[in-house]
Symmetry: C2
Subunit: 550 residues, 2 copies
């Protein structure tokens, strides 16, 4: 389990001591006094949770079905399941503010256990929140039900087995509670890989990925999680949905795609049969610099639509590139880049505010070599300056580090958040410029030093995703209020400019206010119908995804 107050396991912190340029640069950009002192989260002992709502009949029935030791009632477990890992989640919990924790945490050991829990919950009108790794950043695991019913956090961490590998069909059936490292290690031990590496990889689960339509870094090669699912089981209050393992079918609406993205409001995904692939013998990551974001964009577009798609594209704009340069350890491969001489050389050639691209290739040696040659020709034609593999390797090594940095800067009162969207190619740059200008204008109007960077990632034939990171120093005591002004502004901007509400972070409670505009009132009706059909009492993750009715 992660820290109750931040990202990662207790004792693991952002390695700021190895990045001598970073903190001074952040202080300068965000206007933090050099002598600022950190404010740590309140001590654990300062947090006292409300007395839990306990339904004895329900708990007795669950204990009878699951056996002893599967119901955790302690405050530590309850606290760990009270929040996900969004900025406002952490802001509240660091202050010791827990409005509502789940009343108990239940730990099923398999599909049948989940069926028993949900059956009893339905019988006793108890709310159930499915919990995977707890990394959700849209409020997906937070108890928000205000009906006074008992609320259970159903933590699938003891359901983490690879149940079967069908080598011929290239599929693996995996329990939903398996975290990224667990399932990849087990698959790779057998020679296979799922190839799904979201930023949260180390702490997020297959079930969570499916419930939120997660995207991994190599989605260009393997698809988003919804593209990999072949079949699944989802326990709903009225029974278990089991879909048939088949590549495609013409048997009504795609029920895999109804369960995927359902964010726990229809049921609990307990296992899934996923498309896997032979663990690739070649994995190589390369860095490129482009003189402008537009040049890098044009290069990506040509590769993706022209038959030379790598397994990974990540093009940072000039501002995000600046941050990447400041993030380097002095001994890392990017070292020479920061030398003034090299910067002057680049500036002289038109790379004054360069944009860093990371691109990756995975697979067998021969096809990878052919693909790479074709892609590099295109990148170079668009003024891509090849930095070699050291930059790529350095990125790959540090790719899971950013959430730790958020904890570090939060000690100094810094808001740090991300917002992502997707759109078709013809709208990508307009959306980028529109969102960037809107946010920058607001920060400037507020007189705040700020950081706003963006990268293009997750490309498709018809479009791509934009991923923004923004940070500013908050006025003490007004952090939450100020944060939501920016968060709401960026979300509003996405929807107004034709972007999706989210490409891979889901809706939860944070994006719910825009959901009807995203899917139209008729789309909301469709979801309310689904919900009524499978969860008529509204016990499954109440208050999430679907906006409350009239």
């Amino acid at each position: 389990m992660m820290k109750w107050w931040g990202w990662g396991s207790e004792g693991v912190e952002f390695p700021m001591q190895h990045k001598p340029n970073l903190w001074p640069w952040i202080c300068q950009e965000l206007g933090i006094p050099p002598d600022a002192r950190p404010t740590r989260p309140v001590p654990r002992s300062a947090i006292v949770l409300d007395k839990p709502v306990i339904h004895q009949g329900f708990l007795a029935a669950v204990e009878k079905a699951l056996g002893p030791g599967r119901i955790a009632r302690g405050e530590d477990e309850r606290l760990l399941h009270a929040y996900g890992k969004s900025y406002p989640d952490l802001l509240r919990v660091r202050r010791g503010q827990v409005d509502r924790a789940p009343d108990v945490v239940i730990l099923p050991e398999g599909h049948a256990d989940v069926e028993a829990v949900v059956f009893e919950a339905q019988r006793h009108n108890v709310c159930v929140i499915p919990f995977g790794g707890g990394t959700n950043i849209v409020g997906g695991v937070n108890p928000v039900d205000r009906s006074g019913r008992m609320v259970v956090s159903l933590d699938l961490r003891d359901m983490a087995r690879v149940l079967a590998v069908d080598e011929q069909s290239q599929t693996a059936t995996i329990e939903a509670g398996a975290l990224g490292p667990t399932l990849e290690q087990e698959l790779q031990r057998r020679g296979w890989s799922l190839g799904h590496h979201p930023d949260s990889f180390e702490f997020s689960s297959l079930g969570g990925w499916l419930a939120t339509r997660s995207a991994g870094m190599q989605s260009d090669a393997y698809g988003k999680i919804e593209d990999m699912v072949v079949a699944l089981r989802m326990v709903t209050p009225l029974g278990t949905l089991t879909t048939r393992p088949a590549p495609r079918a013409a048997t009504g609406p795609d029920l895999n795609q109804v369960a995927v993205g359902s964010e726990g409001v229809l049921g609990v995904i307990t296992e899934a049969t996923m498309r896997v692939h032979r663990n690739p013998p070649v994995r190589s990551y390369h860095g490129f610099l482009f003189p402008t974001f537009e040049a890098g964009h044009a290069a990506i577009y040509e590769c993706v639509t022209g038959g030379f798609p790598p397994s990974l594209f990540r093009l940072s704009d000039a501002r995000e590139t600046e941050l990447a340069f400041q993030m380097k350890s002095p001994d890392a491969g990017l070292k020479r880049l920061v030398t003034q001489a090299f910067k002057r050389y680049l500036a002289g050639r038109g790379y004054g505010a360069p944009c860093l691209m990371i691109t990756g290739f995975e697979g067998d040696p021969a096809p990878v070599a052919a693909l790479r040659a074709g892609a590099f020709r295109i990148l170079k034609r668009h003024q891509g300056f090849h930095l070699g593999t050291k930059v790529g390797d350095s990125w790959s090594r540090e790719k899971y580090n950013l959430p730790y940095l958020r904890d570090y800067v939060m000690d100094y009162g810094v808001m740090a958040d991300v917002a992502e969207t997707s759109t078709v190619w013809s709208n990508l740059l307009p959306l980028y410029h529109g969102a960037k200008k809107t946010l920058e204008d607001r920060f400037r109007a507020d007189g705040k030093g700020f950081y706003l960077g963006c990268h293009i990632s997750h490309t498709y034939k018809t479009g791509a995703s934009l991923y923004f990171t923004f940070a500013a120093h908050m006025t003490p005591g007004k952090e939450l209020e100020e944060y939501y002004r920016y968060k709401r502004l960026v979300t509003e901007t996405f929807v107004t400019h034709g972007g999706t509400l989210s490409h891979h972070h889901a809706v939860g409670i944070e994006h719910q206010d825009w959901f009807e505009r995203e899917v139209t009132p008729t789309g909301v009706r469709a979801l309310r119908g689904l919900k009524a059909g499978l969860d008529p009492q509204g016990i499954m993750n109440p208050g999430k995804l679907i906006p409350p009715g009239e």
Copy 2:
């Protein structure tokens, strides 16, 4: 519009006179006496439809909204919309049996017209059956509602425009009533192609493809229709669902994939934004012979999972290959194959009962050449005997001909039908052998001469589709009863052996009895919930897809 009694436009027939071997071979295989005389469908004049149920208030409101001339009340139109083109549909209509025709046919000219019709239908409790090209073979367009309500066939044939092409995003927004040739001609005129060519291509519509999860012959390259859809509009009784054009999103269940496959029971798809691609400069089709079905299967598997997937694979088993040989025109490219000398040559090399594979490549010259070289190496390693492009071209020329042959043989009392399924690779050959044996045993037990052939097509990394064609001579007067014994047996066999109920023909009424086993009772509940949420009165294509409730 097609013939009311069969396939294709009036006056176009199967070119039996150019296939001297075919009819004698069919007679011999099915045990039809050489002097058998054809029985033609009853004359049009022999069919008198029931008096229509007319709701004057509804019709007046529709006429007011759509303007004059958009409501067809004549018996010819009603008859044309009474049936799809399944074998039992044709069997009934050829006899003059029309249990229920729609009461009127309404011809909207655009999305707003459809909204007006569905709104008035909802207000007046009138049933609406969306109608595209009318090629459905699972009863999807047949009026089966027994409530006594008025039934409208909503024919989208006047909604056939390409509304917009977004060149940069490689998408086209197309009205749902566009038939295959119309939309391909318009797209190709602008340099683009959808690349969706189902067997019904000449007479089926975009809306029908989407509503039934259609698969085109080049699905290996471009995906099934559900893989091509970027956004759509669907008019439901409670409002219009509009999805956002984006490559991917994480905003709940995928509503595109709820509308796709909904078979008209949730609403009317009026337009869709589809992924398109540059009209490929190279299109080449090749024939190969394999000594066994298993050898061909192994070759396909290796190409698809090993990085050399053509845009088309179609591997016929020995029996279907025999039919293909008999189908040749004497002047076609396959000519030399039928010479006894060539057959002896093949037999001597182990191709005594050869299996014909058609494979196709589309795209730019260089990648096609590389892909073809890689695929051919694999095919040859699996004993594929290259027949060249003439066989492929001949197949491509005649690929839409088979439904005409069905009309021809129906004149002689022959049942001819198809059944298709899909499964993962590890189950493909077991499913093939299981289904084949079950059907053959039944035909033999019934003492019938029969034809049963199969091909593998529509391949994916995780599996493929199996497509069976079966024919036998029916006992006069017992055609329908005998047919359903075989049809039910083959469907039952698919479901029992782990295949899907359908890979691309949908559910309609013909597969409804197995639908609950396919999607589990919980899946049916999900669909009933969706239906209740969008169509609470049950006016949309009542009686289809979702089995009747308790």
